[in-house]
Each structure stands twice: as C-alpha cells, then as structure tokens.
Symmetry: C2
Subunit: 126 residues, 2 copies
C-alpha cells in the first residue's frame, strides 16, 4: 500500500463512521489534541478534540440519516501530512446536496493517519 | 522569525492581495501546480492553478469591495506543511458576515510558504 492508499482508506473510515453514527469509530479516526479543527457545513470553527467530539455526539443524536456518495477525490501527501479534497454528495429525504470537503491527516508515530482538520461547506448551485 | 511567523506573514499577504484586488500579488502567494485547490464560499471545488487564477480574475473584476477583519487565527506546522484556520469577517454595504477559512501552505525549495489550498465557507448564525 502506498501512502495515498492508506490516506484514502483513512478518509473512507471517516465517512463510514459518519454514516454509521459510530462515535467510537469517529473517535478512532481523529487525533486527540488541541490543534484539531472541525468546520461542519455552515458552522463556526470548532477547535480542540473535546469540542469536536461533542459536535459529533450532538450530530449523531440528531434527526436524519445521511448516505454519502463520495466523488471528485484528490489526495496529496508531503512527509507526514496528507490532504484530501472531495465532494460529499448527500442523499436524504430532501434530495441531493453537495458538500465540498477538505480533510487534513497527520501520520502518527505508529504510522497511522489521523484526522486533524475537517472542513465541509455547502455548494450552492450556480 | 519562526516558521509560524513566516506562515502568518504569508497568510496576511493572501488577504492583502484579496483586499487590494491585486492579481499579481495573488499569483505570487499561490503555488502554480495541478494540486492547488480553492473553495470560495458556496462554490464547488476548483482544482489546478489555471482554474484558481481564473476565479480570482473573475472575483476581482466583479462588483463589491471587501474589507477583512481577521480573527481567531490558529497556525500549525509540521515539516514543510503549515495550515492556518481563521475567521474572515467581511464588512461591506450589507453589514458583517463571517467566513470560516482553512489555508494550507507548503514551503518551497527557496524557503517560501506557498498557498496550495484555500477553503472558505459561510458561517450561518445559529
């Protein structure tokens, strides 16, 4: 497996955790540090693992169920950093919407890629 | 100057170029490669320097004038990669709005920090 393969797999795990509303799997994919950042679509910046975790707990408890169709993925790596950009195509009762996402991963001491930044933003049809 | 100081300075240059609608300064701050990514607020993902440049040309030709008040800045670095998250507070005739932004920089062979990813998203007041 190349670095890109591993980052792709880590990125997939993030969305599997999200779709499954699995807080344990979501916890496993993130770095647990003060520097983690999460921007949910339309949300302000959340900083630090405590606040990021709380947001996922809240989202997973909320209504709705989302299924992602991931497209337009591009992965770049440099040293122990990797960044992924992709479209999250959300299918729910209201039809389909697209979220543009940037996910930044850092390779830890055990060689695992951990999420340090997730930024999602709604694409407004133009 | 530390790496963080230099990244902070590079990030400032990006916003100075934006405020000044200065396409030459904007060109200087970006890496010119296929891997660059830009997500303007509400826009789809733009990939590659040609499309990113074209978007700035289009934005700078458009109506309106924006003044940024930058707050909530946080900078992390690892090797030759740095990422900045911050709030872009936009003041214009319609009042103030906030854009959450993630900016990713790569240090080039000459030691200069070049922008490879800019992702901005509107914060919807909650």
């Amino acid at each position: 497996m190349t670095d890109v393969d591993r980052v792709h797999a880590a990125n997939q795990l993030f969305y599997i955790a999200h779709e499954g509303r699995d807080i344990e799997a979501m916890t496993a994919i993130w770095e647990h540090s003060d520097r983690v950042v999460c921007v949910h679509p339309g949300w302000p910046i959340l900083r630090g693992w405590d606040d990021v975790l709380q947001s996922w707990v809240s989202i997973f408890r909320g209504p709705g169920q989302s299924q992602f169709i991931l497209t337009n993925e591009s992965i770049s790596t440099k040293g122990d950093i990797a960044w992924v950009t992709l479209d999250e195509n959300l299918v729910d009762g209201n039809g389909a919407t697209t979220i543009a996402a940037t996910n930044l991963f850092v390779r830890d001491h055990e060689g695992e890629w951990k999420l340090v930044t997730h930024h999602g933003s709604p694409v407004i049809n133009r």
